[in-house]
């Protein structure tokens, strides 16, 4: 089933596993052009018709949908069912070696000019693998909205938004500090993000 959605070069998990483990400051992987083009373009179009609510706290400022589990849109359901499938979770297990066969969290986010997510470590026991699927086009470094990884209180890795790029990383309380840097232009940073949880 996965080969209907994921581009061929990512179906061999052995190399991906080696890369995931080797990456620093903690295990992560950036998979550019991950889903087949037509599929992810359709999902993106449909997502923008969902209802977004502005959320803010000490830690963040952005617009967010409900969990995609609740969407009534067929294309979004198809996407949700794909990443929630046993097959996809086994695929992730083969890449990461992390058992995350429980429920998933999945929402769509829009970061506008001045929006951000400050450094944090996702500290919730059940969260095992965090993921971000970027859906914005034409972002440059100057627009920011990068996903930054910290080590010893410094940013050591920045991943800039690129359409159809899936980033996954291991969640370890007190270690995997990361942030989404502030968006500095009038472009919209659109992403689907959440966690694969333990059972």
């Amino acid at each position: 089933m996965l080969n209907n959605y994921i581009v061929n070069k990512y179906l061999n998990t052995r190399k991906l596993n080696l890369k995931f483990i080797k990456n620093k400051p903690f295990s992560y992987l950036v998979l550019e052009g991950f889903f087949k083009d037509n599929f992810i373009s359709d999902v993106t179009s449909e997502l923008l018709n969902e209802k977004f609510v502005f959320q803010e706290s000490d830690l963040f400022s952005f617009k967010q949908t409900n969990d995609l589990l609740l969407s009534k849109n067929d294309k979004i359901k198809e996407f949700y069912n794909l990443i929630n499938s046993k097959e996809f979770k086994e695929y992730l297990f083969n890449i990461t070696g992390i058992k995350a066969f429980g429920k998933i969290d999945s929402s769509c986010f829009i970061y506008s000019n001045g929006d951000y997510l400050l450094p944090h470590d996702d500290r919730l026991e059940k969260r095992k693998i965090a993921y971000v699927l970027n859906l914005s086009k034409n972002f440059t470094k100057l627009d920011c909205g990068s996903l930054d990884f910290f080590s010893a209180n410094k940013i050591v890795k920045s991943i800039y938004p690129k359409f159809n790029t899936l980033t996954i990383f291991k969640v370890i309380t007190g270690k995997t500090f990361h942030q989404v840097s502030e968006v500095l232009s009038d472009k919209k940073r659109i992403s689907i993000a959440g966690w694969f949880n333990d059972k």
Partner: protein, 177 residues
């Protein structure tokens, strides 16, 4: 140094009533002279998952004495500080809520010296109980805010975004009980 209005007994009594009833009060035009911050060197304090700001000790005996007199008359509390903490927050600065940090019963006092500010910049002081914001203080030049705290109060300074450009907020922050 401190506006004489705030030493007027009738006015003080009214202000005390408001503080008692509302749990906080902001007094504007607090100083009747310009407070000078010459030779102040700020040091950057940065712990990504907790805070980012600049800090300096503010040692001005005259200022502290005036403030001490006011707080003694107003709150019946003695200020024992030999210096005060002066904070500066600019673009990219913030503080985050921290479960490990417990507040005590007492009063938080914020004396604001911010020159120019706009709501869009962020930088407001947010006070919460049971995860609900009960007070939001926006930067306001020449004001003193007095907020009654208890052990369930939590507090943060909202992230300052790129719209603030080079503008900064400046305030003295102290706790008295």
């Amino acid at each position: 140094m401190i506006n004489k209005v705030y030493f007027n007994k009738e006015i003080l009594d009214k202000i005390k009533l408001v503080l008692e009833k509302e749990g906080s009060i902001q007094l504007n035009n607090f100083f009747d002279t310009n407070i000078k911050f010459s030779k102040i060197k700020f040091r950057k304090k940065y712990l990504p998952h907790s805070y980012s700001y600049s800090y300096s000790k503010f040692i001005d005996k005259e200022f502290i004495n005036y403030l001490s007199d006011f707080l003694f008359i107003f709150l019946d509390k003695k200020l024992r500080n030999r210096f005060l903490g002066l904070f500066s927050f600019g673009y990219g600065d913030y503080t985050l809520l921290n479960d490990k940090f417990k507040t005590k019963n007492g009063y938080k006092i914020i004396i604001d010296f911010t020159n120019y500010w706009h709501d869009d910049f962020g930088g407001y002081h947010s006070f919460l109980r049971k995860n609900k914001e009960f007070l939001r203080l926006k930067p306001k030049n020449n004001s003193i805010s007095i907020i009654k705290l208890d052990k369930n109060t939590r507090y943060f300074v909202k992230y300052i975004n790129n719209k603030a450009r080079k503008n900064k907020i400046y305030f003295i922050d102290l706790f008295i009980n």
